[in-house]
C-alpha cells in the first residue's frame, strides 16, 4: 500500500490520540495495516465501495496515534516493555513461561507477528538461536533485523557470567556470549531498562517525555524493590543449592546462593538415572539445602533427588507467568524470594 507523502492536515484529537508531528510514511503504514486487517475491514467488507472509500479517507485525514508494535521474545521483556512504554506499545509475547526458551518452534504465528513489529526485544546471547533466524528471515521486516534500531538484545547491556573460555560442544549446549539467563538477577533490569527506554525514545521520539518519565519512575521503584529484596533474601547468602539446569548463575551471584551441583550432566542434556545417582552420592560430601528448578522444567529429576536427599525441591517462576503469583516484574521477584525463603524452613 502506498500512502501519499503529502500529509493531510492533522486534525487534533483529544489527549493521547494526538500526534506531536505529522507522521511519516512508515508510521502511517504502521497505522493502516494492523487496522485494515483486523475487525474494521471485516466490518466494512460487507458494505459498498463508497463506505470503504470513506473509511480510507477517514484514515488519511485523521492520523490516529500508532502504538509501537513490539515483539517480545520472552515474558520478562514483554513485562519490562510494558513498564516503560505503557499504552504506547502494542506488545506481543512470543513465548510463555512454561516453555523451554531454548526450544521454541518457528511457528507461522511468530513470523506473522514479526512482520509488523517495529521493535524486537529479546535476550540475545544465542538463547533464541534455534528459531529467531528463521522468524527474522521469513518476516521480511528490515526494521527488526540484527544491527537495526528495532533489534534490541538485553544481554548486550549486562555483564555476562559463565562466558566459556573453551567453546566445545563436548561441554554441552554452551553459549559463546555467556549464560543467557540474565533475568534472574533483578539488578540486571536497571541497565536494560535504561537502554530499552532510550531505544523506545529513538523509535518513537514523539513520546520521548512519556518514556523518559516512565523510565525514571520505574528505575526509582526498582531500586527500592531491590533494596527490599536484598534485605528479605539475607538468610539465603551462602546457602548451598542444587539446580536442574545452569539457569540461575545471575540469581546466585546476586543473592549469594552457592550452586554445588546440577541435575543435567551437561547443559541442555537430560538428567539420566545414573547421573542423578552420582549427584546424590556427591551430596554426602557437599550437602545442599534445596533443589531449584524453573517452572518450565520437569519436576521429576528434582523431586527424585529431593526425596532421597531429604531437602525441599523448590520451583521458581523464572519469568513472569511462571507461577500464578508472578504476574509482573515486581511480583516475579517477590514470589521468587518468598519461595526460596520457604525452601529454607
Amino acid at each position: 500500500m502506498t500512502i501519499s507523502t503529502a500529509t493531510p492536515p492533522s486534525l487534533p484529537l483529544s489527549g493521547e490520540e494526538r500526534l506531536g508531528s505529522p507522521p511519516d510514511k512508515g508510521e502511517l503504514e504502521g497505522v493502516l495495516f494492523p487496522l485494515l486487517h483486523t475487525k474494521l475491514i471485516e466490518k466494512y467488507r460487507s458494505h459498498d465501495m463508497k463506505n470503504y472509500l470513506f473509511f480510507a479517507l477517514f484514515l488519511l485525514a485523521f492520523p490516529v496515534h500508532a502504538a509501537l508494535n513490539v515483539f517480545a521474545c520472552e515474558p520478562e521483556w514483554a513485562a519490562l516493555t510494558q513498564q516503560l512504554a505503557g499504552d504506547k506499545a502494542n506488545i506481543y509475547t512470543a513465548t510463555a513461561a512454561l516453555q523451554d526458551p531454548h526450544q521454541i518452534q518457528a511457528r507461522p504465528s511468530l513470523i506473522a507477528k514479526a512482520r509488523s513489529a517495529q521493535l524486537l526485544v529479546c535476550t540475545g546471547a544465542e538463547l533464541e538461536v534455534g528459531w529467531m533466524p528463521v522468524v527474522l528471515q521469513e518476516s521480511a521486516n528490515s526494521r527488526i533485523q540484527p544491527g537495526s534500531s528495532g533489534h534490541f538484545e538485553a544481554a548486550k547491556f549486562v555483564t555476562m557470567l559463565e562466558v566459556p573460555t573453551r567453546l566445545d560442544r563436548a561441554s554441552g549446549d554452551v553459549h559463546a556470549a555467556g549464560n543467557p539467563h540474565i533475568q534472574t538477577d533483578a539488578r540486571n533490569f536497571l541497565p536494560i531498562a535504561e537502554a530499552l527506554g532510550k531505544r523506545l525514545i529513538e523509535l518513537d521520539p514523539a513520546n520521548a517525555a512519556y518514556y523518559q518519565q516512565r523510565l525514571t519512575t520505574f528505575t526509582q521503584q526498582w531500586r527500592a524493590a531491590i533494596a527490599k529484596w536484598e534485605k528479605q533474601a539475607a538468610p539465603l547468602r551462602g546457602i548451598p543449592v542444587i539446580v536442574h539446569h545452569k539457569g540461575f548463575p545471575y540469581m546466585n551471584d546476586w543473592l549469594g546462593l552457592v550452586e554445588v551441583a546440577e541435575l543435567e550432566p551437561k547443559p541442555g542434556m537430560e538428567p539420566s538415572a545414573a547421573y542423578l545417582g552420582k549427584v546424590l552420592n556427591d551430596l554426602q560430601q557437599h550437602p545442599a539445602r534445596m533443589v531449584l528448578r524453573a517452572a518450565y522444567q520437569s519436576e521429576r529429576p528434582s523431586e527424585w533427588i529431593a526425596e532421597r536427599a531429604h531437602v525441599p525441591a523448590v520451583m521458581l517462576p523464572y519469568t513472569v507467568g511462571g507461577t500464578p503469583q508472578a504476574t509482573d516484574l515486581f511480583s516475579l521477584f517477590d514470589d521468587t524470594i518468598a519461595r526460596l525463603l520457604a525452601g529454607l524452613k
Binding site: Q99, D100, I111
Partner: protein, 401 residues
Amino acid sequence: MFKRICSSTAMAVLLSHSILASAAGTASENAFNPALSFILSGTYGSLQRDPAIPATGFAMNPVPGHEQGFNLGESELGISANVDPQFRGVATISLLPAGGASVENAFVQTTALEDGLNLKFGRYFSGLGYLNEQHAHTWDFVDQPLVYSVLWGDQLNEDGVQLKWLAPTDMFVEIGGEIGKGRNFPGTDTAKNGSGAGVLFAHVGDDIGIEYSWRAGLSLYQTKQTKALSTDVPNLLGTTRSDSFTGTSTTAGLDFVWKYSPNGNFRERYLKVQSEYFRRKQNGQLTFDTTGVNITDGYTVVQSGWYVQSVYQFMPAWRTGLRYDRLDPGTATVGALNADNVIASYAYNPSRLTWMADYSPSEFSRIRLQFAHDNSRQGLPDNQVFVQYIMALGAHGAHQY
C-alpha cells in the same frame, strides 16, 4: 553497570570476557567467516527386494533412494552469511559417498525488501508442499513419503527465482511464486530461453492458544516435459521397453501440519500430525519403444498420492512416529496406435506403512530405527529395516516450522 563484583569467580569471568573482547577487536581476515555447519549421516539398510524396482504403475517416475547394507549418507556442508546489507547467501554442498560433490543449494535471499517481500534466487528447494523445503537431516523418517519419491524425486530442487509475499495480517498468510529451469524431475532440463517450470503456492497458519499451532498450504506446479525418457517400462506385450513422453505436466498439492505440546513446551512432549496430497496430470505424446518400433501417439494420465504421518515425543530426547503412504497410478488414455502396447491401467494402489523411533542425546545428534512394510510393488511385499545416525557439527542452525 550497577553490579557489584565481589567474588573472585566473577573477576575471572570479567578477565576472560576482556580477553575475548580484545580478540574480537583484532582486525583479521577471518573475522567475517560465514556460519559453517557439517552434517554427518549414515544408514544401515536391510531390504528384501531390489530397491531399483519402481512402484507399480510408476515406472516412468523416480524410485525412493534406498540402499542396502552400510552406507554413508550424504555428508552436507552448509555455509551461510549476510553478503551485505541487502543480501544473504546460503550454500549447501553435498559430498557424495561414492566420491565427488554436488551443489544441493546455493542461493541468495534478500534481507531488506520492505512490505513482506522475500526474493530468493539461485538453486533452492521449491517452496511447494510442506516437506519439500526441509533438508534430509530434519526429516522425521529415514526416507521421504512415497508421493514425494515418485512425483518429485524425493525433493524438488530448482534453479530459478522465487518471490514470496507475507501478508500484513495477524494470521500467517504467505503467497509465493517461482520460475525455474525445470532442472529436475518432472522437468526435463531443456536448453531454451525463458522458464522451464513454474510454481505457485500459498500457506496459512496460526496458533490456537499456546498449545496448538498449524499450517496449511496449497501448491501448483507446471512444466513442459520434452522427450522424458524412461527405461524398462513394462508393456502389454509382457516385456519392458524404453518410452519417452513429451507434453505438459501439471501438479496440484495440499499440505497440512498440526502440532500440539502440553503448555507449548516442546522440550518435554509434543505431537505432530501432517499430511500431504499431490495430484499430477500429464498430457501429451508418448513414444513407445524408442529404440525399436518407435510409435508415437497421444497419452494422458492422472497420478496421485498422499501420506499421513504422526510423530510423538513422549519424553525428552525420545520420539516415535508412524506413517502411511498410498499412491494411485491412475488410468491412462492411450492413443489408438499404442493401445496394444502401453499399459493404461495397473488396477493396483501402492502403499506402505512405516514406524520409527529415534533418540536425540542432544540437539546435535540423533539415532533412529525404522521398520517399513512396503507394498508399493504388486506381488513383491518388502519388509525394510533401517538404522540411521545424523550428527551436526558447527553452527547451530535454526529449524523451520
